[in-house]
Symmetry: D3
Subunit: 167 residues, 6 copies
């Protein structure tokens, strides 16, 4: 039996905290599907395609990882991809509450799909995509918080003109 897991998120952009979770999952599961959420209700900094491509490039050459966009119910997307394990990172209580409710709701929608929560590496406890965007926007340094590719893409994004996005 092949052991697969799906790791869903907005990844706007992917941070070193996300990368760490993915690397650790790749040690446990045979295959990881990184699922990039297309949220019609929120304007991202990076369009879905760019977010997918950044992750693909960061993990280029790794065979047990796949990256896809999705826009419906997570549990249906998981099922369509024949995956029974959803991975979520938990940083804080507020994450926890929302995730807890989503996990119990997903249990009701598809009882055979399980959500596993992981804690971040201690050095990324405070890290989030939102914080990265805020710091970058205010002229702060994000080296060490995101992969180099993401840092240069952020610079590209802000070089032309002030981007318009929901933080």
């Amino acid at each position: 039996m092949e052991h697969k897991a799906i790791y869903p998120g907005s990844f706007d952009p992917i941070t070193n905290g996300h990368v760490d979770i993915i690397e650790r999952c790749l040690d446990i599961f045979d295959k990881i599907l990184v699922a990039v959420l297309e949220n019609p209700k929120k304007k991202p900094l990076f369009p879905t395609e760019e977010r997918v491509n950044m992750i693909k490039e960061i993990f280029a050459g790794r065979e047990n990882i796949e990256v896809k966009a999705f826009d419906g119910l997570l549990v249906e997307f998981a099922e369509k991809n024949d995956i029974k394990v959803v991975i979520r990172g938990l940083r804080a209580i507020s994450d926890f509450e929302y995730e807890f409710q989503m996990a119990q709701m997903n249990q009701k929608l598809k009882p055979d799909i399980e959500t596993f929560f992981m804690v971040p590496n201690v050095k990324y406890t405070y890290l989030s995509s939102k914080l990265v965007k805020e710091i970058f926007m205010l002229g702060g340094e994000v080296k060490g918080l995101v992969p180099d590719l993401v840092e240069s893409q952020l610079q590209e994004k802000f070089k032309k003109s002030k981007p318009n996005f929901d933080i």
Copy 2:
């Protein structure tokens, strides 16, 4: 590669919430090791051996589950048993904080062992071994909260004389 997970706890006694977590894990992993904690700092209601035996009996005939007592560091016990995944149930924020700290500490002690947290089935959200013991001690009904075997063992325990234990 065989996918194994360890599910540690006091199980004093095992509840239907624990049974539910184990059953769901058995759908995901090839093998589950239920590890019963011997805590020298706390007087249990059921001695370690009785707790181990109850779980063995409840899952009798299931081949992919093993039950053992342990009394040292969890991550070392996991390593000795060649297991890289620790499963923990999360019911509440207070669980979450302690578990979060333990998981980050364990990450430091053995970086290749991962902790995965699961949420309880919604119908067992409020359930804990502590609550079961309190209700039973006060003459309340625990049917539906614990396996039948545990219910009869509780009756046995309290029949003779008032047991002395830390709640």
Copy 3:
């Protein structure tokens, strides 16, 4: 003395969790006033009038329940309706904090009005209007989460064209 309580909320739309709270209050109080909040700062999926009418229809024939829209301070609306008890459901810590602050503020504004918090039936712990809208919008099944009337109204709403609302 007649014992009355007010149960305020957005009810956009009413869920089975809300219905359960109302039913349980009807066993305790002589009369319940369901107060539907008109929030000028947020675009609802259902206009106030539709929200009021759905609740009226769901509880049609029940004499001890009344449904009204309101748009000012809750405590003044309660006072005008000669009610001293406000009922609020609490699902999670984040609810709790906000509700706690509102209750203490309301205590200052009108010291003789009391807020009573109730916990949801365990099977609705994870349920919220927001989650219902998200699931429906993504094509998921909401049967069992909302009254049948609400389900058909949701279908009606989304049939014509994609509705524009704040989630």
Copy 4:
């Protein structure tokens, strides 16, 4: 129909925070039963009888309040006294979690008994029996935190010899 509520607790000793909750309940309900918990697992500072008597004396002459000791399941004690409403004060998140679990468990044990949570008056937010005992034991001033009777009883208690109790 007479509207009654039960307000259970350890009251070891009763504080001004408890008194405030009781006074506010007396404005809402026709009758309040203050139920003093006899906990065999914890050594109190004041024996049950003294705790009951202090509360009786504080509310002497008030006809709609009754004080009783109890030692079994709260919901059964409520039922025996023909009461359907349990009142609990909530000060903090940690209270909230435990109380939430107890309320959902009690719902399962006796579905027709409801728990209503109240927030403390803002000036007693930080107050607990435990804190009162700690401050008094360390020689601090508790005037304004507890009724005068309780203050003099505390002095009496500590005058003779260092009392032995679980904090």
Copy 5:
């Protein structure tokens, strides 16, 4: 060595809770810099200049307090002003989590700048700028919650026409 601290915030508008924190800091530090955040992502009720001027007027004649607007990274603004201590008020868990993450991030960006958190005076536990705006908007009384100057400015603001702002 002069001991200075910076107290950053939106102050839209300043409340009595903020004033209390500032007064208490003025007893501890030689100098306080109140830093009014200009947030390009959020439409305030009072423009930055008005917020700065209100605070200046409230503390007029006090020599150890300074008020400035800022719009970049807080830690860089602190450094430019030669300040090593950031003061933040904490009202609730949700504050705490976000503030905790910001403080750890700031520690990484500028390790020699420290964040000190203070708790509000108990009588302002429930108070926030957001709540003040909500209550005022709904016709409620804000006397005692904000300085008199702020109350009259709020009246001015809402007199002309319904202001447009993010709550």
Copy 6:
């Protein structure tokens, strides 16, 4: 004006998390008083005198730090030592709630004494004296979690015979 702060705690034993807080305070304040709590209600692993001496030795030669035992009310001890600032580290929500209540209570007892909360360095987020004792007791490695002196004292303590202490 000399700026002094008191840093109270059990320090049973002092960890690298505590050392980090002290070092950071020494950059901000002119003088730090480390106050070691003698708690008559809890049996420590290290007697008060040993805890005081370990801290003295760790900071030997540093002139702006003093270490003392205390056993009464913290705010009175601070006042006697002519100190107006109390420093507390916050690791988690559960810390936060208790600390918040203590700070508000202390504000009532001595309004001119302020409590400042600091967050731990991110690499010590999970660290506590309790966790150190548990890990050591179970045979785990505590290097990097406590100063070398503490590690050797722990070895000394456990060498002779199993120590009896409350965890």
